[in-house]
Subunit: 299 residues, 4 copies
């Protein structure tokens, strides 16, 4: 009753995201800067069967230009990650003391891509959540989202949090069936959960901010060429990489991250039946450059 009441009161407006979001967020780097200015990103991702998800997320973090990137994962994923993205560092997530230290030092923590639903994963999530402080960003993806619902975990309030569920994960997290995932219902659930930002992935992804009850953004440039495994891991990596660099306005930043991801996919889809996640990732540096180049030419 209360919720349906709120529902009618909120009357959220939808805003369709346009490409100008990219120019608003992706700016040329100042000359006097070094890698520590572009974020220390820690991914806590990738159980034994799902190492590829962790690798794809790490690859896209690196490709955004994040300063220092570490994947903490099951050590079974070490060699494949190193072979694929030597730019990133690797940590064994069973070394909890080290993980805890790294978590404290990170600017952005991405947790959940390729984690399996297990007691160990729950421990990792809980401990991570308990450590984080106000100046950190927390991106929660994949199974970590389903586990929050199933295992009644609480999202920490100190860090700025971003959830990146697809519709199925959102359902498992909140109980809202896909047909019930209206903007207002989504926003209310987000309020209950206490997340700061929500990217609800679908064929027309929606982006919500806790601070912004009147309006949400919709992404209309995605397409079914993105309907393949690994797409979400790649997005989560872009979101984390962007938050490491563009911290001025996180809401704009995650909008730009989501837009860029689909924008590259759409470009690829002109020549490809599907946009493979690793190929999207490969295009991140050139796509970001197209944006700053266009800005230069307009000035």
């Amino acid at each position: 009753m209360f919720f349906s009441l709120c529902y009618s009161l909120i009357e959220m407006q939808k805003k369709i995201l346009k490409s100008d979001i990219l120019k608003e967020v992706i700016k040329e780097r100042p000359s006097h800067s070094n890698k520590t200015n572009y974020g220390r990103i820690l991914l806590i991702c990738g159980s034994k069967p799902f190492g590829g998800a962790a690798i794809m997320a790490t690859k896209s973090v690196v490709n955004t230009g994040a300063g220092l990137v570490t994947l903490a994962s099951d050590p079974i994923n070490r060699t494949a990650m190193l072979s694929t993205i030597p730019e990133a560092m690797f940590a064994d997530y069973y070394d909890r003391k080290n993980l805890s230290n790294m978590t404290k030092k990170a600017d952005v923590i991405l947790i959940g891509s390729g984690l399996e639903d297990s007691d160990f994963s729950e421990e990792l999530i809980q401990e991570t959540f308990s450590i984080l402080t106000a100046n950190q960003f927390l991106v929660i993806d994949g199974t970590a989202l389903s586990m929050i619902g199933k295992r009644h975990l609480r999202i920490p309030q100190k860090p700025t949090s971003v959830l990146t569920p697809h519709q199925g994960e959102w359902e498992r997290m909140t109980g809202l069936k896909v047909s019930e995932q209206t903007a207002d219902a989504n926003f209310l659930e987000m309020q209950k959960i206490g997340a700061d930002y929500l990217i609800l992935k679908s064929n027309a992804s929606e982006i919500y901010a806790q601070k912004n009850p009147d309006q949400y953004n919709q992404l209309t440039i995605g397409g079914p060429f993105q309907a393949v495994g690994g797409m979400g891991d790649t997005l989560a990596g872009i979101v984390a990489g962007f938050l490491g660099q563009f911290r001025h306005d996180p809401f704009l930043t995650i909008q730009a991250a989501a837009y860029l991801h689909s924008w590259i996919a759409k470009q690829l889809s002109k020549q490809n039946y599907i946009a493979l996640p690793t190929r999207i990732s490969d295009q991140i540096p050139s796509a970001m450059r197209q944006i700053t180049l266009a800005s230069e030419q307009n000035n």
Copy 2:
């Protein structure tokens, strides 16, 4: 006696496959779809010495755009697979309980590419065959085919089955020497075996359907640039990937899969003495896009 009688009665007609089979099968994806609409594919492939076969098959499944792809294999192949195709998941096939669960949930099971002839492989094959149900597709490739003949295994009748032997494997499976592999003889063996579809690979591959005793299809665009190791594993992967997505008419679907495979190889052969299997695989997304693009332009 009986066979030669049947032989004369059947009088199978040969139909040469044309490129229009690609347009009939490869359709633009509907906007409102997600990865679960494009099939959950399980590969049970790759013993210790033949991990590359499993990797090539997995790579081509992923490249067709299949939704969720898992390779169940000897764990020794895990890191190489992850390094090559992070888009796929990996399972240890010695964890039989997990394998059995995954088998039940899969839409398409590809078994045999790079399996060695062993008692363990026989157990894997038998257990897989015993689990499958009516709504599933089963692609049997490589050594699994030879083992069916040698070890007198029976192809399960519940799932829709596709066999992808080359002439040597077909001989080991059926006892038919290459010189005896006439269309009618092939069809009769297929009937005895109880397979639904047969792709008999050669320099002019033939495609048979149990339901279609009057006619078989022949592929005339292949060439000797395909005569290298790994070619069949790549085809098996395309067949499995296509069955995960284009389920309307499996006979047409496997024709398109085989046609696409040779079509890409032929394109590559214009610039290359041989068409390396991994390079064929890399071209799948763009080749499929050429088809839908041509369809768009005609409408």
Copy 3:
């Protein structure tokens, strides 16, 4: 005394290799053929510290279009090989019974690239040499050559043998200092050793045939852009791959293999300061195609 006598008697003539050797050897494949027509190649290469040599040799065998390629090596090299060339199979060379079986079945055996000088390597070499029969080709490369000199191993007479030393290895094998490596001296040593063919690598490599005491071939298209580690391993792989396919006249075949290798390197050197071995390897299929294409257009 005897040797200097022979020296003056032989008076070997030098013939400069021209590009027409490529057209003489690299022919379009007949349509009715399959991978078993293009050779079963076994590489016995790669000790623990030198796995890369084995991988580069294997990669270039595969890229020539050889039918079935297996690398027998230290198992520590398995995953890197699978990640790099899934088209090849892998065998643990400590499984001596299996290795012996594979050796018997192979058409071409390449031994020595990346083998370390050890008692175990000597055992491998000796056992391989003892198994080989008249219809097989044996390519001996790298440390296996130095070991033949140092450990007084005898080259087997049944298979057709090809040695691929660089000048330093030839010195370690024969005792001939680089300054003493005249054509006649080289030929005499080759006679003593009992090898059928010799590719003596240098900045102007020379190719000798036991059956051809009057003349040797020289390669003048190589260059210092080839002076990097791994160059010889790549050549050995091309030689082995070619012997698997073009068996009509082995002397011509190895000339074409050596020529192709330097021809690709030279092409690369137009745009690159050095011709990296793995990039040479990547170009093999297209370079071979250029040859058959030119032949087509002339007919």
Copy 4:
């Protein structure tokens, strides 16, 4: 007091590096040469968590055209290195006797990229430092630099030494805060430490020679597109690779190495928001060729 006195006495002059440094150093190779003419490079790099740094450094050494390249590292990094750069050899750095032998034979030793700060690393560094002789080059990078400061290690005086710290490492090494890192102060610290050359990396890197107290070089073509992890490891590799080949005047050689690194990065930045270290590395052979090609055309 003494230092500020010296400061005013030295009055170092700044020279901006121009692209002609590339032509001065990168020369076409003489025809009569082989890989042993281009240096035996040993990298002692890469602890467990930082294998990627070692891989990137090794990759760039190979790509410069160095003759024989070996990475001595934690064996956990072996497979990823082999998968990425088969042109290089690998040694387990726990095998100290072998490492000591290889160190003696190397022309250039690069130590420190991706080493962790540990007692074991200190042992490695100390032993390496104690072995080196007058004809060898020693490049010290990464954590080895911080450890020199923190653990009071002494740079060996026999080999020609090059330090490649970024400003933070230079601070940890010398105690000089970034704001205090003036040319004169840097030079004085370098004198105290006893290093022959210093590349002090920043957004405008500076290059010093012990023998040259009047002048230092500055690199003004770098940019913030280089502010990503792995950039320094790639530079260290280019420096080591160049010292293996261009030994005439080491001061010029390291200037050219640093210039080339930023020059490639700048080229990449025209099309890419950031210049990924591994992509810079891939461009080394073609960039070096551009230089010799330009020299050819001018003659």
